[in-house]
Each structure stands twice: as structure tokens, then as C-alpha cells.
């Protein structure tokens, strides 16, 4: 910016050419207006030819000394890039035909061939055009005078009068009844689309308060759908994700009902008596839906008994009824009361005793 030698064309001062402008620069005191400069002015020292104002170029008075040799080299460079771009297109079509997609390697080659040739085409055109504009076209700065943005006072006044005359003629200002009833007609119009949106979804009712767990619902392993016996889930430090039987493929159900089952040594649990009754032989079931914003609180460190939500790092203590020990979650993960049925399979005693997942206004 500040390198004076580079302000080529001297901001459109005609006649300050040629060449080494720095040597011939006239000292100018700050505050004095610069020499007349506008691209619309014809420079006096540009000879006119047959009354053609653009004989010397589209911006009269603007010139740029550059050796013919240098221009030709620029043309050659640009042409080279444009030829490369053309060859790139040939390669693109060839790549499309040659490289099929399918397995990952084929897809990779196809992607590289198509993308690579496209890159070559685009960057070559870009480089060629840049060569063209920088090495072939003359370089100068043109001064464009701004017109003041506010309109002239008479114009404004005239328009104001015209507009009000129109309003008067229309009767809009004169008849309040017309004006008011029109506004009355318009006012609710914006509401109608909102009314129409009512059927976007059902009302919440109590849906967020319940899950698909019921007394006796078997806990089945998410991913395999197999029921789990307490005896099978017997290694302390074990975890597994379970969902209600029959809902293995129902994402809406899983989104609320999914449970992280953890096996601890019974003596490690620090629970109230009621909560103790909700566990079975050190097996404790927590809602897997984080009480913060609903990500699966799925990460379990068996050495520290921490349950961690990988989204926002809310941390819960598995030994202490999922008490929050760190992070933005405000409530413990709800516990699902579990027991075993006659065949030893883990089943729910009931639904959760509180709503699962993120807090909502009506939760209370």
C-alpha cells in the first residue's frame, strides 16, 4: 500500500507518464487539490484520431508503458495455461470413462481423477486469466467521481409533494373508514400461515414423561436384540446398552428408553434403600439419555465409576445414583428399577420414576 513506486498510473494523472514516475514526481503540499483527474476528461496530450475518443483505449489518457516483448511473453503464458485447461477437460472426460466407482479404491481413484482434472482445469483458467490481466492488459487506476447520495433539496420536495398528492387523490388520507377497515383486513393475514402450521406435529401432552418400559419388560441388548440374564451379566466393571424388548428397531422408542446397564460389586453402591431395591445384585440401570441436551451418556470408566457424556462432558457417579460430579448437566441420570424374572432374565420393575432426557418447561 505504502510503496509509492507501485502506485502505478499515479491515480489517473494524465501526462505523468512515462516510466519512472518517481523521479519526476512533483512535490505536492498536503491539502492542495490534486491535479484534475477523471476518466471522463480527455487528456490534452492524447492526440485524437478522427474524432474517435477511444482511439488510445477505453479510458482516454490512461496508458501503461510495457515492452512488446513482455506483453508477448504474457500472452504465451496465458495461452499455455488455457491449453492446459483444455487438456484437463480431455482428462476429465477420460477419467469419467476409465475410472468406475464401486469399491473404495476404485471410488478413490475416480474421485482423484475427476477432482484432480477439474482442479487443473479451473486453476489453469484462473492462472491464465490472471496472466492475461496482469501481463497483457495495461495497468492503471481510474478515478470515478461519486455523486452525493442524498437527493437535491428541490428533488426531495417535489417528490414529497407528488407523493402526498397521490395519497390525497386515492382517498386514503381522507376516509378513515377505508384506512381502518383495510388495516383490520390485513392485520390477521400474517397469522393465518402460523395457524396452518398447527398440524406440523401432535401436542406434547404427557409424552415426555413416559417411556416404553413397563413392569416385566425384558431388557434386550441393543444391536443384537437378545435378552440378558443377570447371571450372564456378571463381571464387575461390565457395561452394556439395553432397550425394551420389542422396540429394538423403533428409533423413537430407543431415543427415550435406551438404558446403560452397569455391573458393579454390590458393596460399591452408595444408594438409598429405595434405590437399592431398583438394582439387582450390583446391576444398576441408568437412562442413557443425558439430562443436559440428550446425547447418550455412554462413556463409562470402570476404574473411577464415572459415566461421561462425550458431547459436553457431563459426568455422573455410577455408584451414587448417577450424581452429577462435573459438567453442565443439572440432574442425575434417572434410574430404571430392574429385577429378574422367573427364568433369570433382567426385566424392568416399572417405568422410570421421572422423565428422562433434557429438562423441559413442564417437567417441574
Amino acid at each position: 500500500m505504502t510503496d509509492n513506486d507501485n502506485t502505478n498510473g499515479s491515480a489517473g494523472v494524465p501526462g505523468e507518464e512515462p516510466a519512472d514516475g518517481a523521479e519526476t514526481r512533483r512535490p505536492r503540499v498536503i491539502g492542495t487539490p490534486p491535479p484534475a483527474e477523471s476518466h471522463r476528461l480527455l487528456s490534452t496530450d492524447t492526440p485524437e484520431t478522427d474524432g474517435d475518443p477511444y482511439a488510445a483505449g477505453p479510458y482516454p489518457g490512461m496508458a501503461h508503458e510495457r515492452s512488446e516483448e513482455r506483453i508477448r511473453s504474457g500472452v504465451r503464458w496465458a495461452a499455455l495455461f488455457f491449453v492446459i485447461a483444455f487438456l484437463g477437460s480431455v482428462a476429465f472426460v477420460a477419467g469419467y470413462v476409465i475410472f468406475q466407482v464401486g469399491d473404495l479404491w476404485q471410488t478413490k481413484w475416480s474421485n482423484m481423477a475427476l477432482g484432480g482434472s477439474l482442479t487443473v482445469i479451473l486453476l489453469a483458467i484462473a492462472s491464465g486469466m490472471t496472466m492475461w490481466v496482469r501481463r497483457v492488459m495495461p495497468h492503471y487506476d481510474v478515478v470515478d467521481e461519486r455523486h452525493p447520495l442524498p437527493s437535491e433539496q428541490p428533488e426531495k420536495q417535489d417528490f414529497g409533494k407528488f407523493f402526498m398528492a397521490g395519497a390525497k387523490e386515492s382517498g386514503f388520507t381522507r376516509y378513515p373508514l377505508l384506512r381502518r377497515t383495510l388495516m383490520l383486513a390485513m392485520a390477521p393475514l400474517g397469522l393465518l400461515p402460523l395457524v396452518l402450521l398447527r398440524d406440523l406435529g401432535p401436542l406434547p401432552e404427557k409424552k415426555l414423561r413416559h417411556t416404553d418400559w413397563k413392569k416385566g419388560t425384558k431388557l434386550v441388548v441393543d444391536g443384537t436384540g437378545e435378552p440378558l440374564r443377570a447371571a450372564d451379566f456378571s463381571s464387575p466393571g461390565g457395561i452394556i446398552t439395553v432397550v425394551p424388548e420389542g422396540k429394538e428397531h423403533d428409533l423413537d422408542s430407543i431415543a427415550k428408553s435406551t438404558v446403560l446397564l452397569i455391573k458393579l460389586r454390590p458393596e460399591e453402591l452408595e444408594l438409598t434403600e429405595e434405590q437399592m431395591n431398583w438394582t439387582y445384585d450390583g446391576i444398576i440401570a441408568y437412562s442413557k439419555i443425558c439430562t443436559h441436551v440428550g446425547c447418550p451418556a455412554a462413556l463409562y470408566e470402570q476404574s473411577t465409576h464415572r459415566i461421561l457424556c462425550p458431547c459436553h462432558q457431563s459426568t455422573f457417579d455410577a455408584r451414587k445414583a448417577a450424581k452429577v460430579t462435573f459438567g453442565p448437566a443439572a440432574r442425575p441420570l434417572p434410574m430404571l428399577p430392574i429385577t429378574v424374572d422367573a427364568e433369570g432374565y433382567l426385566v424392568a420393575q416399572s417405568d422410570f420414576h421421572e422423565p428422562v432426557g433434557p429438562s423441559f418447561w413442564e417437567r417441574g
Binding site: 498536503i30 484520431t49 481510474v142 470515478d144 453442565p328
Partner: protein, 551 residues
């Protein structure tokens, strides 16, 4: 040299159009539009061009994408997932990736262009902010730009939710949690948006319509308006020799800038294609189809949503339960309050600044950031806040890659988010004022050239060289903030405007803006009289010598 004759075909087309539109004058004026030559004036163009690339590549993707949550069993080319149940949205995304030639490329180009689009809007907005180019008469274009940025965020979020993969599904899950946290109406909004409980079967088709029709339609209209306003008001320009409020200096549209802009479009597209060809983005086949019971460690949103992820991560666990209702502050504040805190000042800034400074002048020569220290400092503190939130959104990756404890990163960000912006404000303001002083000094007695010269007396001096004319114009480009109307008039009667509370707030703020201001220096001969500056004191011969040194 004469003007070449118009080729017959071109003349024919021109005549055809002019007969119908009377376009010769209009075209003649507009093709002469001047574009200032500075790279930072191209940042907005990056956004424009990447937007075009997004429209083109996105159209291609819609030919195969099936925005349905209906579940199917996969049997396409990606054999590893054979037999896995997935939504049609996910399945068709895999099909585009592995069964359509160029499909993966277009997906990647689309996604990279989206990242570049939003990043370009960011840097463009920062350029406009820090140079004060949003000032009168351009406030409305600032508003349009801010709206475009926010719409860009929304459009991006909608877009990356569409493939219905595990990562994007988690984004939707978080969106559900955020909606639920809204007092009174949250549950209803959530049920209406999702068509029932999460995830339901409606959200992807609905997002698809919003993503390909409504939001891009609005954005396109705003882009056109943004551009037309720019065209009508003409560009701003940096201070420099010959540059005045009443003119704009640069390359004319025709022929040179048209080619420059064309070249730049191809550069933007070329870099996007380069990334699409060689840098894998959003490998949904690795994430797997969405299931609400599963999650990956290191789950992150795209970068532009990272700051909200960060604010959700570091906010403390506040929640109010009273009178049978729940107010989830630990979701509400970080997910909706923080964006409000960032976007509100962003949107109203031009009006706020005008109100505080009382500057109602038209500005076409932009500020150098140093010359508006309070604005620049405020901007930097905003950038710091945003940057820290953004980093906080990746705290688990930072913890894992840099071996720092996870909770430690959270605590660090909790403090840094409060202290960082304050420190940034103070430091930036000091730097700005220091630079202003240096400018004032350089303008008054030149800059230290590093040339040591021995005087005939034997004394050694360092030659202070005068600034070049251009540099000098730049150095003295600062404009004073106008004084507010005196709070007390000549008779000691307080003016009506300054008595109200808002009036007092305003004069306090005004005082804050101007109190440390460095007065705009006289360029020459300010009475230092040390013989190394001020042109008036120079002898004829010495002046001649200095002039040589200048070059």
C-alpha cells in the same frame, strides 16, 4: 491506433438488446464501475463465488438424494455395511458417494465450499467492521450481511443434518434439547418441528425443503440486494494519495476487473475442487447410520457451530425448579443467550456507534483499524470470545491430542472466556493508540530510515526520511470523532438531550470513545524544530538531498 470496428455478430446482438432495453448508456456507465485494488476487497467475492459453487454442486446432489427417514436395508457398493438398517437419506448419501461417478467429488466440493462460504463471510465481515466500512451510508448493507451470516449458519446446520448419520443425528438431538429448554413454548416447538417425539420421521424431509428451497431462496435474494446496494453506493476505499470522500480509485470493471473477477471465481472453484479431490470431508460411511443410543467420542459440529458447542460445554450446571416448572439455564443461556449476546451487538453496531459518536457524516474512505481504537478493541474482544468458545467446543480433542486433563480444559475456558475478551480489549486499544502515535510522529518528522550519516561537523545522525506522499496521506488519514452537542449550553442550562438517562449513558460512552484519543497530528513542522523533519525549515540544498533519499 484506432478503435477496431465492432464485429458484425456482436454488433447484431448489441443492437437487438438495445432496441429492446435502451441499454447503451446503462451498460456504458456500469461497465466503467471502479473496483479498488486491494486483496481485502475480494473477501466478499469469495463468499459470493463459493455460494454459486454450493448452488451448482447442491443441485447435482438433489438428483440422487432421497430425503426420507423410511428405513431400508443396505445392499449397495459399500460392502462393510451390507445388511445394516438405515434411513433412505443415509442410504442415498452412500449411493451418491459410492455408486455415482463424481458423486463423492460433488459431495465433498459442496461441503468444502460451505465451510469456505461461511469462513469467507466471517473474514469479509471482520474487514468491513474493522475498517468502519459499515458506517453511513452502508448500515443497511451491514444488516443484510449480518442476516446472511446467520442464515449461513442455519443453512449449514440444516445441510449437515440431512445425511442422517450418527454425527449429524447427534446435532439434531442437541437441537431437540435446546428447543426443549425454551420456557413455556419449548416442548410445543419441539413437537411441531419434529412432528412428534425425537427423532420421528419428518425432520429430514422438512429440513430438506428448508435447506434447498426456502433458506437459499432468501439468501439469494439478499445476496442480490447486497450486491445492488454495493453497486449503487460504489465501493469504499482505503486512504491513500488522491483518494477522497468524493471519489473512488481503482480498476474499471471493463475490461480489466471483469477478467480479474473471472480469474478469481476460477481460483475459488479450483481450490474447492482441489480440496474435494484430495481432502476427505464428512465421511458419513465411517460415522454409520443414526441411532439415538450410540455416540462417538470427539463428536463435533462443523466449525461455524463449534462456538455454540463450546458454550454448552463450559457452562455450569444451573437449573431452576420452582412452582412445578423447570428452567434449564445450563442449556438456555449457552445455546440461546450467548448467540444473542454475540449477534445483537453485531447487528446493531452501526447504529450504536453512530448514536454514541454522533457521527452522521457519509464515509467512503474507510478507517484504518488503529484510528478507531475503541471499535477495533471491541471487535477484537468479540473475536477473542468467539475464538475461545470455538476452541472450547473442541476441548476433548485438545485434551486428547495435547495431553491435558479434560476437566482442566473446561476450567481454563471458564476463566478465559471472561478474562480473554477483557484482556483483548485493553491490549488492542493500547496497540492502536501506540500505532497512532507512531503515525503522528512519522507524519510530523519522518520515519527512522536506519541510514547513519556523518555531518560535516563530525556528528553522526540517523537520517529521518520523509514519508512518501502516499504514505503520508495514509498516516494522517484519521478523522476526529465529532464532539457531542455540549451538555451545558452557554448560559449553563443543560441541553434537553443530555439530561435523560439515555443522554447520560450516551455522553459517558462518547467520553469513553474519545478520552484517550491521539489528536490528529499536523503533518509537518509542528514546532519540534530538530532539523530532521518539517519541510519549511529545510534549506534548498538539503531539501533536494532529502528528496533523493525519499526515492
Amino acid at each position: 491506433m484506432t478503435t477496431p470496428p465492432t464485429p458484425k455478430a456482436l454488433g447484431g446482438v448489441g443492437t437487438y438488446i438495445d432496441d429492446r432495453f435502451h441499454s447503451a448508456r446503462f451498460a456504458g456507465v456500469n461497465l466503467r464501475k471502479v473496483f479498488p485494488n486491494h486483496w481485502s476487497f475480494m473477501l466478499g467475492e469469495i463468499a459470493l463465488y463459493s455460494f454459486i459453487i454450493i448452488l451448482l454442486s447442491g443441485t447435482f446432489l438433489t438428483f440422487w438424494f432421497n430425503p426420507s427417514m423410511h428405513e431400508v436395508v443396505y445392499d449397495g457398493s459399500y460392502t462393510k455395511l451390507h445388511g445394516v438398517t438405515m434411513s433412505q437419506a443415509y442410504e442415498s448419501t452412500l449411493r451418491i458417494s459410492f455408486d455415482v461417478r463424481g458423486g463423492l467429488l460433488m459431495r465433498q466440493v459442496h461441503h468444502w465450499a460451505a465451510l469456505i462460504f461461511i469462513a469467507a463471510m466471517f473474514v469479509h465481515m471482520l474487514r468491513v467492521f474493522f475498517t468502519g466500512a459499515f458506517r453511513k451510508p452502508r448500515e443497511l448493507n451491514w444488516l443484510i450481511g449480518a442476516t446472511l451470516l446467520i442464515l449461513g449458519f442455519v443453512e449449514g446446520l440444516l445441510g449437515y443434518s440431512l445425511p442422517d448419520d450418527l454425527l449429524s443425528g447427534m446435532g439434531l438431538r442437541i437441537a431437540e434439547g435446546v428447543l426443549l429448554s425454551i420456557p413455556v413454548v419449548g416442548t410445543y416447538l419441539m413437537f411441531f418441528l419434529f412432528g412428534g417425539e425425537f427423532p420421528g420421521h419428518d425432520i429430514i424431509p422438512r429440513f430438506f425443503t428448508l435447506h434447498v428451497l426456502l433458506i437459499p431462496g432468501i439468501m439469494l435474494a439478499l445476496v442480490v440486494a447486497h450486491f445492488m446496494i454495493l453497486w449503487h453506493q460504489k465501493h469504499t476505499q482505503y486512504p491513500g494519495k488522491g483518494k477522497k470522500e468524493s471519489n473512488v480509485i481503482g480498476t474499471p470493471m471493463y475490461p480489466a476487473f471483469a477478467v480479474k473477477a473471472g480469474a478469481f471465481f476460477f481460483f475459488v472453484f479450483g481450490v474447492t475442487a482441489l480440496l474435494g479431490a484430495f481432502a476427505q470431508i464428512n465421511p458419513v460411511w465411517l460415522y454409520g447410520p443414526f441411532t439415538p443410543a450410540a455416540i462417538s467420542s470427539g463428536s463435533q459440529p462443523d466449525f461455524y457451530m463449534g462456538w455454540l458447542e463450546g458454550s454448552l460445554r463450559v457452562f455450569p450446571a444451573w437449573e431452576i425448579n420452582a412452582f412445578g416448572y423447570t428452567l434449564a439455564l445450563s442449556v438456555l443461556i449457552p445455546a440461546l443467550g450467548i448467540p444473542g449476546l454475540v449477534f445483537t451487538p453485531l447487528i446493531i453496531w452501526p447504529f450504536l456507534e453512530q448514536w454514541v459518536t454522533g457521527d452522521k457524516r457519509q464515509h467512503h474512505v474507510v478507517d484504518r483499524p488503529r484510528n478507531a481504537p475503541v471499535r477495533t478493541a471491541f471487535g477484537m474482544s468479540g473475536v477473542t470470545l468467539y475464538g475461545l468458545l470455538w476452541l472450547a467446543g473442541a476441548n476433548d480433542v485438545i485434551s486428547e491430542r495435547l495431553d491435558v486433563p479434560l476437566y482442566g480444559t473446561t476450567w481454563f475456558f471458564r476463566f478465559a472466556l471472561i478474562l480473554g475478551p477483557i484482556i483483548a480489549f485493553i491490549v488492542t486499544k493500547r496497540i492502536c493508540l501506540g500505532l497512532q502515535r507512531r503515525d503522528a510522529a512519522a507524519a510530523s518528522h519522518g520515519y527512522e530510515s536506519g541510514i547513519i550519516k556523518q555531518l560535516p561537523s563530525g556528528e553522526f545522525i540517523e537520517v529521518h526520511q520523509l514519508l512518501t506522499e502516499d504514505a503520508e496521506t495514509v498516516a494522517v488519514a484519521k478523522k476526529e470523532v465529532p464532539a457531542l452537542a455540549a451538555a451545558v449550553d452557554g448560559d449553563g442550562v443543560p441541553s434537553p438531550g443530555s439530561r435523560s438517562m439515555m443522554g447520560r449513558v450516551r455522553s459517558r460512552l462518547h467520553n469513553f470513545v474519545v478520552k484517550d484519543d491521539i489528536p490528529v497530528g499536523e503533518p509537518h513542522g509542528n514546532g519540534h524544530g530538530d532539523g530532521h523533519g518539517g519541510r519549511p525549515e529545510l534549506g534548498e540544498a538539503e531539501a533536494e538531498e532529502r528528496k533523493e533519499l525519499r526515492h
